[in-house]
């Protein structure tokens, strides 16, 4: 300690610490992430992170094609498009994680290549919706409210949520900032019609406990017993069943048609390794990789037959909303949001 009393020695000591940490950081970063990567994939963290399905699928692809895959992360579909709109350091070859809500904006922002697919049979639930050769669905899930079995019996119809039993009990997401929030808004309007839908939302006000800015914030509150019902993916409880062995989390099967989320992959026209990029998208749809996505991303596989006889094999009991109604409402997204804001929920 006494030696540090000389300022030059203490400054040198500080510089040595920082330099050592800098060198150590570079060492760990270089050993975890090769700088000679070839194929750049832009995706959201839950997919690209080591606990997501991405790294394992990439490892298999690397072995087959003798190239390196490098992941670039953006927090959600909106940020993915934001990233693509900028001139970035990395030339993106594949984009994973666009959703139904963001496809139009993605098309308007940059150009996309067609992705040729051979002998892929999509699951019948999404076969009517997948019409675009530029965007290939790789997983999907219906959406609903999730509850805990110990919290009592759930409703069968959305209208029941306006009852006294559900006062201050719902967790929704803000459609202005969250894709799941937008799904909820479209769900209500597609089931009830626009006018009655907004009337219903106004009546729902006493039942809403929180409108969170994002799905993760809302779901976290639900997990922490702050909200009895949260709007989420039908497959969300499967994470608790499989990873935590906790069967208390359950999805509500409504008697009404459910809305659904589909995730898409695409190849921008600015790609550098376009051939490999198209192969990677096709590779995502192979059975092994679809299983990996199902078990690590906790979404339903897009390809027929993958989920059969697994915990994920439940969607045949779920009625889905008509794609036409969905698309019509999506075209009016801005005016729908305006009316949502006017409700001041």
């Amino acid at each position: 300690m006494a030696i540090l009393r000389r300022p030059y020695i203490s400054i040198t000591f500080f510089v040595v610490i920082v330099a050592t940490l800098f060198a150590a950081f570079r060492y760990f970063e270089d050993s975890s992430d090769s700088p000679t990567t070839d194929l750049y994939i832009l995706s959201y963290p839950n997919f690209a992170k080591e606990w997501g399905p991405g790294p394992e699928i990439a490892r298999r692809f690397e072995e087959q094609h003798n190239i390196k895959v490098r992941w670039i992360e953006a927090s959600n579909a909106g940020m993915i498009i934001e990233y693509l709109a900028k001139n970035n350091e990395y030339p993106i070859d594949v984009v994973l994680g666009l959703d139904i809500l963001s496809l139009e904006k993605a098309k308007a922002t940059i150009g996309w290549k067609d992705v040729p697919l051979r002998k892929v049979r999509f699951t019948k639930d999404i076969v009517d919706i997948h019409v675009d050769p530029e965007f290939i669905p790789f997983d999907w899930s219906p959406m609903t409210f999730i509850y805990k079995r110990t919290d009592g019996l759930p409703p069968k119809k959305l209208e029941e949520f306006t009852g006294e039993a559900f006062v201050n009990s719902l967790g929704l997401q803000d459609p202005n900032s969250s894709a799941t929030g937008m799904y909820f808004l479209i769900w209500v309007l597609s089931i009830m019609g626009e006018e009655k839908g907004y009337e219903y939302l106004a009546q729902l006000k006493p039942s809403i406990r929180v409108i969170s800015p994002s799905w993760s914030a809302g779901y976290s509150l639900f997990q922490n017993d702050q909200i009895p019902y949260v709007f989420s993916y039908f497959t969300s409880p499967l994470y608790h069943h499989i990873v935590e062995n906790n069967f208390n989390y359950q999805p509500i099967f409504f008697d009404q048609p459910h809305i659904y989320a589909i995730e898409y992959a695409g190849v921008p026209t600015t790609c550098k390794r376009c051939d490999l990029a198209q192969k990677f998208v096709a590779f995502l749809l192979e059975k092994e990789n679809q299983k990996q996505i199902m078990m690590k991303n906790f979404m339903l596989p897009a390809v027929l037959g993958v989920k059969d006889k697994t915990e994920f094999d439940f969607s045949q009991n779920i009625q889905l909303i008509r794609p036409k109604a969905f698309k019509e409402l999506l075209e009016k997204k801005e005016s729908l949001l305006e009316r949502w804001r006017d409700l001041q929920l």
Binding site: M1, S10, L21, F22, N46, S220, N224, Q226
Partner: protein, 486 residues
Amino acid sequence: MRSRHALYVILIALFGVYIAPYIPFFSLWTGWDVPLHNLLEIYSASTQQALGSMVLTALLGVLVAGGLLWFRQRFAGQGMLAAEYLVALPSLLPSLFVIISVLSVIPRFPFGMKGVILLHALSMMGFAGILFLRIADDKWGAHSAVAQALGARGGFFFRKMFPLIARDGLLILTVLFFYFLTSISIPLIIGGATFTSVEKTIYDQLATAHNPAKAFQYFILQAILLIPMFALAQTYSSRSNGGVELLRLCHSRIGFFVAGLPSAILIMGLVLRLLPGLRAIAIYPEFSRSLPIVLTGSLLLGFLTGGFCVLLLAVWTLLSLKPHTRKLLGVLCVPSVSIVAYGFSMWTAEGEMAFFFAALALTVIFAPVLFRLGIYQQLLRLQTQIDSARQMGATTVFLFRRVVWPQISPMLFILSGLCAVWGMSDFAVSRLVLERDWSLGLWIQSLMHQYRWDVAVAGCWLLILCGFLVFLFFWSMARVNSQKLK
């Protein structure tokens, strides 16, 4: 003459660092298009929240100060130091930890404005209590022995002596108001979509609507409101009365238990999830594989932030020795964390060099608050010595090196250590500048987004450990400098 010019160059450089983040926004300016009714609504909600948080924090803070006084009379020295750190824990750790813990421990916590006010108060009351106690020691200490000898009672003493602390109390209240008005993590999660503040609107415009030009319009209005308020509050702060410790008067046993409550909730919340988190880290090797990068990244960010903070606070102190530059410095503040973080992200470098920009951004954000809450009070205490030295012909640089630095450096290092810990645990600013999960704060935030709360809490404990190591370094420097003084 040359040293005077050098001081002006340093002053310009300091202002440059604070102005740099805003420069990219000017090129995005497209005219004024924020509707007035919308503006009034947001400002009204924002001000109500900040005022409510400030009042509740101040009331609880006074109680905490009484509690700490009660504790000090029984356990002086290291015991008191430990108690102060424990009470300040919810303010030292990032708001995210407080949110996780409170939601883990208290079922059905209120949301919206009520929840925001309550959580703000829970997280800052300990820190406010310590600051109030420091002022009370400083301003009342010399009078308390006399009052006690004359048999004055606590309530009477408090009433009569209140005017002595009013000015400094005003500075603390202003800093608290400022902190709550610009707070972002708690309003984002606890406020939900029903509560809107100016800072939240700025954040939404940047992160959701991707409209930095509009965000900048809201920022300008917030800056117009805050900067003069800050400058005025600093001007009204008064000189020290000697820095004698306050005696038994005004202590409160209840206050001691109130003081410990938020820390108890925080620790309980973190303990509850520690074991499942460690288990998950052990089961999934992918979690442990990320650790070397995030640990070294966090330490690097912490040391750099602390180092920059020492430099910035030292420069700020040096410039504050001149009365007219001190007035100028009164306006230096960060009216919007989101805008500054976004601004720095536009200047940032790629690769590991981004750590320097992240550390600089974090220092720029935290330093004004640390200076006003810590160094400024010390400077007021030294004012008599400064005046005497000036009378004897000391130059500003000489004054700084021989009179001010030896006495101020222990606190400056402690505050820089605190800045380093805040920097390590930050996610909002680092996310914009670093972009990848290179620090524990960012890693924890990613884990929470992927609803891996247990692992996130285990990460919180790692962060506490790393924060302790970095703080220990700066604390050692503070000790070395205080020994030099002896």
